[in-house]
Amino acid sequence: MQHVALKIIFFFAIAATYFVITMSFFLVLRKMIEVRTKKVRDLLFKQYSSAFANILMQEIPVGTGTGERHRYYESKLIEQKKRLERMTKRTRLLHKSVIRSVLIDYSKDLKGETIERVIYYISSLKILDELIKMMKSPRWWIRAAAAKELGLLHARRAIVPLTAALEDSSPDVQFQAMQSLLMIGGVSALHNIFHLSKSISQWTAVELSVIIREYREEAAQYLLESLSSARPSVVLFSITLLAQIGFVNAVEPLIQFCLSDPEPMLYEASIEALGLLGDERALTLLVHNTQNPNMNIRLSALQALGRLGAKKSIEIITERFRKGDIGEKRIAARALGNMGNDGMSTLYELMNSNEEVSRMIALEVTEEIEQGRKL
């Protein structure tokens, strides 16, 4: 019995040793290949960068027709194409991938007719077709990489597969497609993005918000449109971004949205957004929500009133200060602190409150304000 077991263990040990040796061998081999490939790629990159820079810098007379321009572009590629055809499949793949990197690199900085040339070369060298084909790969990381590159290449031909990729099973592919569609189609791509995206995770929201914020008020129309989306994550994203952009015209639609009885998470976000937008039109709704049984909504309303600085609401905020728990007292006190002299007078009065916790919180917040610390 022992001997059999030992034989089994010994067999596994041999397998383990084989594994370690093989892995170590491949590790070293991989490192060597990596170093060599990188060297070759760097060299090729330099060569193609210089070759394409020459091609792109050659001037073409103003007013030349499209057909003639394309014939001219093609004439500059003949040599490159012939050379690629002579290569083995493996070498050709390497060269084409380098050419792709070079052209993507150029496409980031070029405009006008020159970018048209870049797009023509990409198309003529069948790089675009290959990237579009890659969008159908069963491997998500290949699809994501293709989506990213199609955006960088401003490939209008890729709008259809990129739009389809908004419904991809992988969030990475979805986001790369969103980003590329915005690069190619500009802010109008938001319509499809909001319409077709299954959901917008917080992570996608982080990435997308940075891009959309650059469009500022141009994006507002699409954000307002998506308030009626059936997907809560899309609505939440739009509400938050409308507030961040500071689009004051969103106040009325947001009030209407609140009146349509949305789910609590979206309601809370709208109250918060109304506070950030700081428009008195929302005052009645905000005051009403200081009595909301949902604590998060109540706190958002108090915070919003604080941001609004509406003196009319001092009484109701003071009431919440007296009745609320520590968290609510703190937020109410900070809201009062934002309401100028009247709010501060109330805070000073609350510092003499009979209840210890209220007294302490009022003291804490007063000190914060006096020291000019951010609330």
Binding site: Q2, A13, A16, A145, K148, D172, W203, V206, Q244, I326
Partner: protein, 470 residues
Amino acid sequence: MSEILYLIFNVYLIFVIIYFLGVNIIYSLFLAVSFKEIFNHMRHNAFVDYRKLIQSEFTYSVSVLAPAYNEGKTVVESVKSLLKLNFGKYEVLVINDGSQDDTLEQLIHEFDLTKTNQFYYDVIKTKPVRGIFISQKPEYKNLTIIDKENGGKADSLNAGINIARYDFVCCIDADSILEDDALLKSMKPFHEDKTVVAVGGIIRIANGCKVINGRVVSVGLSHKLLPIFQVVEYLRAFLSGRMFWNIFQGPLIISGAFGIFKKSILLEVGGYRIDTVGEDMELVTRIHRTMIEKKKPYKVLFVPDPVCWTEAPDSLSVLSRQRNRWQRGLLDTLLIHKKMMFNPRYGIVGIGALPHFLFVELLGPVFEAMGYISLVVMYSLGVLNIDIAILFFIVALFYGAMFSVGAVILEEISFQRYPKPSDLALLLSIGIIENFGYRQLTVVWRLKGIFDYLRGHKHWGTMQRKGFRI
């Protein structure tokens, strides 16, 4: 009589062989799964632009909690380093746990602190707070110091949780070094998945690295052998061990040196337990337990690339105390949560993770020590089959080496933190050398930990650090 002894030892030997086989199959599985998981992680990261996390208003804010006890020599540099993290909105809360030295004075002097009237409400009960300090200098506006009576690391962290302003808290050791982008990388899972409640990053050994102004500027290995053994151990534990549990409900340990939690979860489970030396493992196990019992969807994750550098013990006495404490902490946690053990109600945690910790991590040294003892006894009785013993030893060596070398390979194909080929070669050789002496020493320390626990020793002990500031 000798026949009975012979029978007993033979039965024991068979048990050891089966145990050995089982453990090694588990570790092989760990390694294989970890390879796959790390590749997946790397692929996902290839498309991430972390700068957007800094720029976006959608990024969650974080409170960084750093408990400090008698850290007067290093606390200022550590806090300065924390204040320079690459992240959007975050605050740094340093909790002075009743230090006997000049920790508080150093902080007050360097950061121009004044005592505030901030109201301290202990949602989680803690030792009394003597004062809350903030800086008068605008550049340190996100720094708060809590001065409290001594209550231990767990109590300090609880005080920090009570006062934390943001929805996520990052618990670290005040004397560790967080890499600039560590918060960015470890906050990503919370943004991707709302059910993620805790994330742990990787702890790496800073001995031998060049540290300037609280930043690791060049990675290297120590000139001493002891920290290098620990480098391999840490790689094995983090890259292979914790990565494996990610595919289930997540690891049972998030290192006390670097972990991020949803604050609401910490409040829900009542914060850290103050009566255990394994408070980090106990907390994560309790999170698993609470969430499963309440039938709430949740995830605990280990992320392999946000790095926290820590100084490893470079003397046998300090290392032995550390390992002793870890073992006591493990045993304590397993006893506290014994109800979960083998209980299918707790899913893979109950029937997989906890039994693994019991049989492999806790009892492993016991079985190994008994193996050594039985070899000696069998030899002295003249009943030892020398050939089999040698064969067994060689096999054990191969297996031990395989997992260590496997972890180094994982590191090399993924993060490649050790740029020098000589360092890589040294790490690979340590994977073999550690089986001669070092491994046996750790067995002794861990056994002593169990023994001390059974004798009722539940204290932290002292951990002297030399500091790696330059």
